[in-house]
Amino acid sequence: MLNAIASLTTLGLLLGLLLAVAARFLRVAADPLVGELESLMPGSQCGQCGFPGCAPAAEALVAGEAPVTLCPPGGRALAGQLATRLGVTVDLSGVADKPPSIAVIDEQRCIGCTRCLKVCPTDAIVGASKQIHAVIRDACTGCEQCLDTCPTDCVVMHEIQPTLQSWHWPLPVLAA
């Protein structure tokens, strides 16, 4: 019996050693990952993640310096996709699934200061100095940069409502 224990233990140790060696020397380089992760992101370079853009954020993700929940506009879906791609587990319950929204300028309060105009990463705001500014709906990504810079607080975020074209069936609820 002692023989059996000894031989199996030795076998186990040897195989474990082999695995460790393989993990070190046969590791696959993962550089194209940065580009892949960046393509998953919204791409508006809004900076809400704390990094100066989507590419630096992707690099930080690959280096393991940032959590997969870093992107608020991407919401839960993006966090899940990043987690799958990076092979990490993530607790999505804490991720606020902020519904997509677009900015709307209250024309009564706009003073035409052009501050929001200058910071919009997609040039979605039209207007000029001393003239009312307005947001082009299709170009707005909901990054909220304009919200932060407006001195008169006239920018409001409106949730994008589902239309007949964009509505889809929810998953059927499982009975408890």
Partner: protein
Amino acid sequence: MKLFRIRGGVHPAGRKEATRDLPIETMPLPGRLYLPVQQHIGAPAAPAVKVGERVLRGQLLAHSQGAVSAPIHAPTSATVADIADLPAPHPSGLAVRTVVLAPDGLDEAVDRETVADPLSLSPGEIATLVGAAGIVGMGGATFPAAVKLNLPRRQPIHTLVINGAECEPFLTCDERLMRERGDAVIAGIRLMARALGVQRTLVAIEDNKPEARAMMVAAAAGVDDFRVLGVPTRYPMGSEKHLVQTLTGLETPARELTADLGVVVHNVATAHAVYRALYHGEPCISRVVTVSGGATQRPANLEVRLGTRVTDLLNHCGGFRETPARLLAGGPMMGQMLPHQRVPIVKGSSGILALTGAETAGRREMPCIRCGSCVEACPCGLLPLAMAAHGRAGDLEGAARHGLMDCVSCGACAYTCPSHIPLVQIFHHARGALAARQRVAHKAEETRHLSQRREARLAREQAHKAAEAAARKAAREAANKARAAAREAAS
């Protein structure tokens, strides 16, 4: 004629006894008509009338926009009461732009020129008139009929198949049309055959409708290259792709249309609408709807003006016998649940069903036991259990790999599932989520594009400023040099 077998399929109880022998009843005009501008696949129609305007029966209310679209016409003489966003006959209950009419009871028709012999028109003219009449696929698909009739311009079409299968339980509107107005239907079919320039026409009627078949055979007597035949009663025989397979043995290649096989399929009711449009100058303003279900007081086949609210329909049929477990638009296999009764009948509404709990036979959902009944039942050869497992887990790509995009949503799998898993809803969700994801990716792409353009603009302005500053500096230096030289010259 040799028929071919389709894979899978199920045999739900027909339940057509309640209405199949009831003649079509004309429903009286309701107090209000609600006409959504989108009753078809394609771009919504654009309103062409104003609030307060008086319109006559058959007058254009909204014109089509673009190549794939259809116009909307007034079902009766009325005043335009409102143009607003009102609930669509859709499970979400979301709003659609709707033209609200207040009928004046006179039912005065607009002047229309009618052609004496529509069969003498050219194919192009027939297609144009069909398009102008706003005719769409009345079997429920609501694809603009004119677009289909124009297909011969792009590809060879040799066969016209008329879908008289009506495989959904409860529904009998197509059957009654064939039995009572067989001549009109055949006339409409002949017009479509002429428009398409086909070599032969096949009218397919399920075996459970022998009277309809007899009537159509009689009406089609003497017409060349015309065959009325019976197809086996099996759900989903009415599915376009499977009907073509039954008749020709050819499978429509994935992601393609039956037109790529040279076959165009049209519904019986669409043919009837074509007849009315070309022989009587009447655009698509009414249709036959079957009201049935165990919870209906008085089932009926009603000829209804488009825009009539379901409330009015049900009231005309005496309301409910008991509170229905489900109120559906369409048949029980593919029909949609209505959020409430205050939605209108549109071009694609083939039936209104008020089902009892016994008829829905719903049960608590149990885990999948991998019995494979769904695989056997699927007429498309897919793996519904795998698609559902991946869909439930959120693995949309996995679901797509198992055939999600080839699914026709017939519901045969969910019908036979012993565990009562709502398979089709999971597939709808997965497809919708994939489409949403594509929209998000598209938006991200657009955003990146806009971002880059902004960067380019800023760089340009930067460069422009730098160039101007350099030019100013150079000019200043040149001016200084000139002044210095002048001073030197002066001294």
